[in-house]
């Protein structure tokens, strides 16, 4: 039998293999290092800018910071809590409903449309969701408000929650549903008391991921909750009036011309980053738990 002689020696091919590996390792380093540097800078500068006043005082006018009077972000932190809470309250039922519809009523004729439009919504830039909330809430109400901010962030969360709910419920085998139906439970009880409890880790993970994504968004809040330098005089004004939120305040501080505010911007940065990372790590942790069991 005639042997076909190799044109490239094994040595050449092995060297090429090592060369590619080197290239891949260099790429990985070149990309990962700057990204880690960003995180490092935010942590170091942010930690340096943290102080007690941040959590107890309101911001006030720039003069306050420049004259060295106590100033802080307490109204921002409270406002963020209110707006994020409103967002999840609005997003949760809609996302869950859509997820249940997609997973538990797979034959429903609206499902293909729902799936496509949900993905479309998910792919839309967050700034457009802010404009939608502006038109749907701010314009009719005649004022910027925490509610509008919550609605805008809810628009960010909804498609994520819908998708993750669908896949969390789909992961529950059909046999469980059949078993529950067989012992005479009506369908809605099967879903509420058998399928959803079984899928709860996945459901919570989806909520956390949606929450983490929305909590870091500034763009939808710029023209909905708008921002404010002061604590409102009544708590209801956090919902019905303009209210400060961390991402939007971070942006305003960073582009302001005052050095003192730049410092506070780093502080806002580390607070926001910590908040988002806690949500994110909790989601990762739950995902891992789910895989183990």
């Amino acid at each position: 039998m005639r042997r076909v002689y190799d044109q490239k020696s094994l040595r050449q091919r092995t060297i090429w293999d090592h060369f590619i590996l080197g290239l891949l390792m260099i790429s990985t380093l070149v990309v990962m290092v700057p990204l880690l540097i960003i995180v490092g800078y935010v942590i170091i500068n942010g930690a340096g800018a943290l102080n007690w006043d941040l959590f107890t005082q309101e911001l006030g006018s720039p003069a306050r910071a420049m004259q060295g009077r106590p100033t802080g972000l307490v109204h921002t932190i409270l406002g963020t809590a209110v707006v994020d809470l409103l967002a999840i309250l609005i997003a949760a039922p809609l996302g869950l409903g859509a997820g249940i519809m997609l997973s538990e009523y797979p034959d429903h004729k609206l499902n293909p449309v729902l799936r496509i439009l949900n993905d479309t919504l998910n792919g839309m830039p967050a700034v457009l969701k802010g404009l939608l909330a502006f038109s749907l809430v701010v314009k009719p109400m005649g004022t910027f408000s925490g509610l509008a901010g919550g609605v805008a962030l809810a628009f960010v969360m909804i498609p994520i929650i819908a998708r993750s709910t669908e896949s969390a419920l789909m992961n529950i085998p059909w046999t469980i549903r059949e078993a529950a139906l067989a012992i005479g439970l009506p369908r809605w009880r099967v879903i509420l008391s058998t399928v959803m409890p079984a899928a709860r880790t996945g459901l919570v993970t989806g909520f956390l991921i949606g929450f983490a994504r929305a909590a870091g968004e500034a763009a939808p809040l710029m023209f909905t909750s708008f921002g404010s330098n002061y604590l409102p005089n009544h708590w209801s004004n956090m919902i019905l009036g303009p209210v400060d939120t961390l991402p939007q305040r971070l942006y305003s501080l960073a582009i302001s011309p005052y050095k003192e505010w730049h410092e506070m911007g780093w502080a806002a940065g580390i607070i926001l980053l910590t908040f988002v990372m806690i949500l994110f790590i909790a989601a990762r942790f739950l995902t891992r738990q789910k895989i183990k069991t």
């Binding site: 919504l121 369908r187 870091g216």
Partner: protein
Amino acid sequence: MQENQTANPELKRPLSIIYRWLGDRIFLTVTVALGSSIILLALSMAFVLYSESSTTWQEFGIIGFLRGTTWDAGLHLKFGALPFLFGTLITSLVSLAIAFFPAVAIAIFMAEYSPRWLSGIIENLVQMIAAIPSVVIGIWGIFVFAPWMRETFYLPVFTWTADHYPSLLPVLGNPIGYGITTATIILALMIIPYITALTNDAIRQVPKEQREAAWALGATRWEVIRMAVLPYARGGIMAGAMLSLGRAVGETMAVAMLIGNKNTLPFSIIGPASTMPSVIINEFREAVENLHLSSLMAIALSLFVISLIVNLIAAYITRKLSITGGQLV
């Protein structure tokens, strides 16, 4: 527990009709109402953006607005979208071009070369970095990256050009640090984690058998990747690149903080520019004139259409190029 009672059909027979039929009815109705509201929401986004921008379309016409190069909210109230269309396309396409190969390289390294413990670390880091809010990247860009770029690259290049080719200075642009190049690099860094994550997903879908077939032919590790892994995963990788392009197109805060916000063409290489999301963020809060607001909404509608197209292409690629069971579909 409630379950135990209802589990016995005998116990709840008297309630049966209401409990069962009506319960199912109500539950289905509520679920469908909630689900359909997402459909309404998506449709209303298109409708609202269109109706809010109708004044602009009437005033300048679709082509006139999209091709208009003047954006003057002060004296003449004349609005054209071309600078922003141009800025968005340039920044997103160039950032994708910069990000694509390194991002895919990380994914390949992670999936095919590195030991498992290292892949785990890289994967977690990549996911974590993807979760960093855009404004947080932005503040680093404003205070660290842009000044560094100015001192290290822009000023030396500017001085050199001024000495040797002064006629090229307008093309190069002002070395203030904030500008289209700075924004594009940051954008590239921001989309790398997405491309890496999506490429990693695509590579994981490649069946073990495909790899083994290549190994069995006496392929080296790289040859296995080139011959079996990448061709199989190409649909997923391309779709991932498209989705990341969609991200870059819609990325708002970091770009608005770093691009320098210049609303008139021509843009220069390192000088300030604008994108569609950045002009919305910069001007919407302060806009008072009806035509100005409506023109910003028209920009938003254009952004909506571009995002829609990019996402549809990604979906098309996924369907067209995905491979199942050894067969091209």
